[in-house]
Symmetry: C2
Subunit: 149 residues, 2 copies
């Protein structure tokens, strides 16, 4: 159930947004880098090669729009800038991040186990849960080996 350009065009039409070339290029960039967590500046750098006149402000505005439409998910790894990843499937859940404190690398981790916890929390705290974000901080295998010298 991957999002494609056609879905997007319909989504836009329905809400009277316009499908501009800039928006297409930016979305395509996410489709081409679906495994990565790109910042506005990252996108700007990539997109510049194809469309040198495309402005950084447009990147920011498009990122905000696509986040509002739940096409992108805004994440924060604490490195001072927002990062975005494409929501490939309909449900944004079930995928978390392993952040290495040494090299800063971010890896994905698939998981379903949080569902039950979520229900428990909702009940106990009178809180309607829409989404969650789980991040693990630690050291990846590579960095662990390096530090063993």
């Amino acid at each position: 159930m991957t999002i494609n350009m056609n879905d997007l065009k319909h989504m836009f039409r329905d809400r009277q947004y316009k499908m501009t070339s800039q928006r297409q290029i930016i979305l395509q960039t996410f489709l081409d880098h679906s495994e990565q967590h790109l910042s506005a500046e990252d996108i700007y750098g990539i997109v510049r090669k194809v469309a040198p006149e495309l402005g950084l402000a447009t990147v920011y505005r498009t990122l905000e729009l696509l986040s509002d439409l739940d096409v992108l998910q805004k994440i924060d790894f604490g490195d001072g800038r927002h990062r975005y990843e494409i929501n490939e499937n309909s449900s944004p859940h079930h995928h978390h991040h392993l952040i290495c404190l040494a090299c800063g690398n971010v890896r994905e981790f698939e998981d379903d186990l949080l569902e039950s916890l979520e229900n428990a929390v909702a009940l106990k705290s009178n809180f309607t849960i829409i989404d969650h974000q789980l991040k693990f901080y630690g050291y990846c295998g590579e960095c662990r080996v390096k530090s063993e010298d």
Copy 2:
């Protein structure tokens, strides 16, 4: 096992940091507001009343120092500024955040259930986990009632 000023003084002495009045005041502010998630500007505002000459840069530098010492935990709720809370007990684990998408309020949630998940992740991904952060986004009881009009 609450952190107090004496523990801190020893911690500082051991590492040849100086215990200045500014640092004491800032730490005391966290002890007095242990349930809250204060930003640099929050701290600055509170501290100003006691020590009007204390500068914002010092607040930032102290926040960084105390985070490095694991006395404070740096959190990000996506509101454009970093927030800090004091690590009252030795193990920083077992407490998460419920963030209301309507009013922006942040509530704490106590929990132990993530331990087993953490072990599973560590094993499966060859990743040594030091810490985790779990955030639930949704709507608190109050905002849910309000939106039912």
